[in-house]
Symmetry: C2
Subunit: 126 residues, 2 copies
DNA sequence: CCTCTATGTTGACGAACTTCGAAGCAGGAT
DNA sequence: ATCCTGCTTCGAAGTTCGTCAACATAGAGG
């Protein structure tokens, strides 16, 4: 299932290794890589999907719990989930009849780190 | 100059007022608003522009310093800068012959906060 | 085996995006 | 006023994206 070519956000982010977006000019290859992840977040449907998955109590959501929240066909939801998966933001597994999705926090952590300025702790909101 | 309809990232983010992306399901309107900002970041050219602007010593960059870094026409760079500006990520001002751009850190701070999980400080990288 | 349900994949189409050249505008210099 | 330079806006071409209907697949249960 999770045999998609993921976007791997190289060395960086929360582990405090490599330059953040806001401190050092971004190289072209790295920009391309990063843009894929941000592009995945650049759609309202995908943002809501990610949010629904991330905020789920047990950490896992079945597709059948996601689809009814939208006025979209199931294939469209499936398509958006695939893009989020390819961006390395979520992963999934089939369990019997259903497929469960969960957040990959490393990726969001790295994005948050990249967008954080040196002096700014940027504690989680709420 | 800065009379663009900015995307205003409502109440949220670093000020710890409203739910982060990862803790509470996102409302539709808010998702649309947020998606515009992420979409602005979803292009390699714009990411590099933002990075170049943000990491500049004095905090300001002239367009003429940005353009040579790309294999793109000046109108194209101008277009991307406009999108970043409409997303509320940067602003600009004309001074004599040149136009200077600078980062609006409130917006990146808010994004970082939204992507940060409750337990995770997400200190700036590098 | 066959059928039913839950998901993913394919192909197609309109909308949106990226890019360019050409034209427009604002200021400084002549 | 006239020209030149720096930048933005306009209009068009090519590409990518979001969406759906139709089809394919995986597993459960007869």
């Amino acid at each position: 299932m999770s045999k998609q070519e993921l976007v791997v956000l190289g060395q960086d982010g929360a582990d405090g290794c490599c330059p953040g977006l806001l401190t050092t000019p971004l190289g072209e290859e790295r920009a391309v890589e990063l843009a894929k992840v941000f592009k995945a977040l650049g759609d309202p449907v995908r943002l809501r999907l990610l949010s629904m998955i991330a905020s789920r109590e047990g950490g896992e959501v079945c597709v059948c719990d996601l689809t009814p929240a939208f006025d979209l066909s199931q294939p469209t939801i499936s398509h958006h989930l695939k893009l989020l998966r390819q961006a390395g933001l979520i992963d999934c597994e089939r369990r019997g009849t259903w497929v469960y999705y969960w957040l990959l926090p490393e990726t969001t952590d790295k994005l948050a780190g990249l967008l954080t300025r040196p002096g700014q702790p940027a504690e989680a909101s709420s």
